[in-house]
Amino acid sequence: MLALTILIDGIVYASWLFIVALGLTLVFGVLKILNIAHGSFYAVGAYAAASFVGWFATLGLAPELSPVAMLLAAVAVAALLAPLTERGLLRVFYGRDEVLLVLVTYALFLILEDVTKLVWGPTPYYVSEPYMLFGNVEFGTLSYVGYDFMLIIVAVLCGLAVWWGLNRTRIGKIVLAVIHSDEIASSMGVNVSRIYTFAFMFGIFLAALAGALTAPMVSVQPGLSVGVIIVSFAVVIIGGLGSIEGAAIGALIVGLARALAVHTWPAAELFSIYIAMAIVLVFRPEGLFQRVQARKI
């Protein structure tokens, strides 16, 4: 029973984490940018969801439609903010050192932190209606909220979609060409900047979606962004940067490690992520799924 609880709790947490990490790993994979501001887009997604769900309610739409509102919120964030950031900001710095780009996204994180505060103010938003939409699932003595299981489904769907898109479609292969070298890809006729914009947009969509999906479970307020950055970084590192499968397994490892800690040794929760990451890296210095490197010599 305990093992099963740990498993369920771990998977639920992992699915949330996976959606965030998926976007992060995608953006890194394609644009070679380790996006610290990913957490900010997550927060903006949560805020947008809060606004959209509230807006749906004022329009008199049924609360059953609130998932649609959340999805729309994520789409809106991606459609508006992603091109703005990618074309307006990141593009200026392409080709620069990777570390420098991390710094650019750190600056972006600082800026977005205050911008969300200016736009939405410091008071928290609550949109817990969707959380109850899917009822409860009784499980022995435990009661889970159906929403949590819905989260698992969404995560699996997102993962499959991105994996399929990158590995089984032509677009994916074209993206691989861009990842390898934008100069070569554009010589072959690939509109590299469009691929960049789309990839970034999709990554941001995933961040915003994760934020939107989390909005009903928390109060949406300043400070939301910081918490997710490091843990999603850890997931992506464990899995191997840029790897979809890796992000999935990394999320599971982190989720299960955390659930195991909480249930059996709560005092160790604070360390669980870092220990998991360190153990994986000691045995697999480049993460579980390392990207294939071209021959150097």
Partner: protein
């Protein structure tokens, strides 16, 4: 035709091309020779739009290339084989060849593939191998095939015979020169043209980024 009118290109404060001019007739094959660092690669990359001339003009088929985005060159029938091969390591040989065909609106995948395998049959055997596993020479072969797949009208080949064993190098030049007369314009940059020289229409010498004496082939 390909028309390069006294272009100047600087890379990080190094002036790599100094008023270089070149006109290549449609359907002709031109060799671009010069010592190391003469500017051959720079010229080809300028034509491909990866470098922007600070002066001068590059046009293909009457279109000023400064006005088209760099990825649009492939759609104009330009195929480019970069000096360092530039294959996508994760993709298979066949996928590498097909990427430019996929993004093109006009090319037919089956037709292009058949055509490439016809001129380079040895690729058939390795079609499923990942590009990163190939040796240097094998990669050259694939890079040429990829340029051929999309370069229906203009081929820019940067050192296609470099690091290639003599047997294969002969094959490659046969392939390239076998395309003659098909309305295909070819520019080959190479520091020496030994066995290929005889088959070219013209050899253009580039010296420290500028035109040098020209010898008719």
């Amino acid at each position: 035709m390909l028309n390069i009118e006294s272009v100047n290109v600087t890379i990080q404060s190094v002036q790599a091309l100094r008023g270089f001019s070149l006109a290549v007739e449609r359907g002709s094959m031109v060799g671009l020779v010069g010592r190391n660092g003469a500017g051959k690669t720079t010229l080809l990359r300028t034509i491909m739009g990866h470098l922007t001339p600070i002066a001068g003009r590059v046009s293909w088929d009457g279109v000023d290339l400064a006005t088209v985005p760099r990825h649009a060159r492939a759609a104009m029938g330009v195929g480019y084989m970069p000096e360092d091969r530039g294959l996508v390591p994760e993709l298979t040989v066949e996928e590498n060849i097909l990427v430019p065909v996929w993004v093109s609106k006009t090319l037919d995948e089956r037709e292009r593939l058949a055509r490439v395998y016809e001129v380079l049959p040895e690729l058939r055997e390795m079609r499923e191998r990942r590009a990163l596993l190939l040796s240097g020479g094998q990669q050259k072969l694939v890079a040429l095939a990829r340029a051929l797949a999309v370069g229906t009208r203009l081929l820019l080949l940067d050192e296609p015979f470099e690091g290639v064993a003599p047997a294969l190098s002969q094959r490659l030049s046969e392939v390239v020169f076998g395309l003659r007369g098909k309305d295909l314009t070819v520019v080959i940059a190479q520091s020496e043209l030994n066995h290929a020289a005889s088959m070219l229409d013209r050899e253009v010498v580039i010296e420290r980024g500028a035109n040098a004496k020209e010898k008719a082939a």
